[in-house]
Amino acid sequence: MLVLRSSRSALRTLEAPSGGLVGRVLLRGLSTSAARSEELKKTPLYDFHVQHKAKMVPFAGWSMPLSYGEVGQITAHNHVRNAAGLFDVSHMLQHRFTGPSSQSFLESLSPSSLHALTPFSSTLSVLLNESGGIIDDTIITKHSDNDFYVVTNAGRSEEDKAHIGSKLAEWNENHPGKEVKWETMDGWGLLALQGPKAAEVLQGLTETDLSAVKFGQSAFAEIGQGKVTCHVARGGYTGEDGFEVSIPPEHAVELTELLSGHPDVQLIGLGARDSLRLEAGMCLYGHDLDESVSPVEAALTWVIGKDRRAPDAPNPFPGKSRILEEIANGPKRRRVGFEVIGVPAREGCKVFAADGKTEIGVITSGIPSPTLGTNIAMGYVLNGQHKKGTKVQVEVRRKLREAVVKPMPFVPTKYYK
């Protein structure tokens, strides 16, 4: 079939990807745990996608919709920015952690101040290895001190499960009587409804007052005539207002039909998902993040709780010494945004200083932005070259192209705050 393949992470190799026309039509995010030869997993919405003429492609070990029917990526992208789009994100791994020491356990894996979260609020966070590298990025939602809902990346499910499993066994051994119970919500549906019309659409289907659920907050809401109880979290991966709706397995198709039946809602595939998230300045694991990258390097220092940075703070997070050192003295490299003049720069393109000679970094994601009409990218540069407005050069097809370091998000976020 048509080759929609991943390139190796640019963070691991400076070699630019190569291949013939179409051979390089690369679908981002295919990397990491799932081997290509394995049978692809299907979300509860697989048949729904096929019925809606989705072009299904392998993604992180799953068969997922790239696009629907003849709707192009730019049309789909713009529809999310102007109305509302519905994404199947059921391939992502949903977890529940319950039990008396759940909060402390999750704080032992991540640098977030989970104790400071109020019930039914969430934070972007990272799971860290012992060297302070990012095993995965994740959204952690607190329902109470002993009840957490966590979503991690599909492409990291094997690594995450192995990591959490071994850490949890150790934790429970050391915390008798305060054990943590961990479940993954396999088979559950997860839909992202994103765009300026998202709230109006979802409010029409539930009696829960969504105006009380701000960005980063969540609620259990009964949706549709069948009053299916779903976890509704306000936020998403596009920079727009929107929700991620977690749906019991037996109701996933029914609620997808209900939401997608609204005239303002279009089904949106992975293609537009990638351009939307890049405009919003968000990372794609396996491309913009990997296990060598610390949250300080990844410009995610803000996820590290202030109180947790104190050298003597209890329950230190993994890799704390490296991370504190990087906060104090600056990391070796930093993730930044770029605007590239003239041509789009893609993953793997080398970044040079303004002199065109000194190699200072690499592009990890890049697209021609459908919203802005400019070529946007993110990548890593040496510390010191990361300031906004720094002029750099990016090598695209063996030619140096002018580029400038830009703040992210590229497209202003429109969260409901």
């Binding site: 013939g20 051979g23 690369l26 192009g72 351009s275 041509v343 789009p344 097809r397």
Partner: protein, 158 residues
């Protein structure tokens, strides 16, 4: 400009053939007429043996795989290219695809319209969305490209 890529009228082909009756090049008999062949990189070449110029573009299969084309980088006119050289790129939002020269020669024209209307590559990849014209230095290279039938089989095998 666009008319340049249309097949020459049969009468002019006939005239040019008749004007060189003493040079029967039997090995190129099949190439005496304007014909189209394809590369495994999903490019097409329409070759006019009377001028030795081939028009190069991407196939319908390629444009579908790429999705909305938003940017095309073409080689400069006058550039010498060798078969297999990367000579430019076609970019959609999701991906960049290199264009490789399907034949060797000198670039004689590029489709300037594409800089303003890259979407022509989606609308008419094998017509108004042509990429460039190359004066072939070795017409035998053209003969080695795939026939329409062989290209179709190549796509089905992917």
């Amino acid at each position: 400009m666009l008319s340049l890529r249309l097949a020459r009228p049969a009468s002019s082909l006939l005239r040019s053939a008749l004007s060189k009756p003493m040079m029967p090049r039997m090995q190129f008999a099949a190439a005496r007429f304007v014909s189209t062949r394809y590369s495994t990189d999903h490019e097409w070449v329409t070759f006019d043996p009377s001028t030795n110029v081939g028009t190069v573009g991407i196939t319908d299969y390629a444009q579908k795989a790429l999705g909305d084309v938003v940017f095309v980088e073409l080689p400069g006119s006058g550039n010498e290219v060798a078969q297999g050289d990367p000579i430019g790129a076609v970019e959609s939002v999701k991906a960049a695809s290199d264009i490789y020269a399907p034949v060797s020669g000198v670039v004689t024209a590029i489709n300037e319209t594409l800089s303003d209307q890259p979407s022509l590559l989606n609308k008419a990849p094998q017509g108004d969305g042509w990429l460039c014209k190359v004066k072939l230095s070795d017409p035998a290279e053209f003969e080695d490209l795939l026939s329409a039938e062989a290209y179709k089989a190549h796509c089905e095998g992917q």
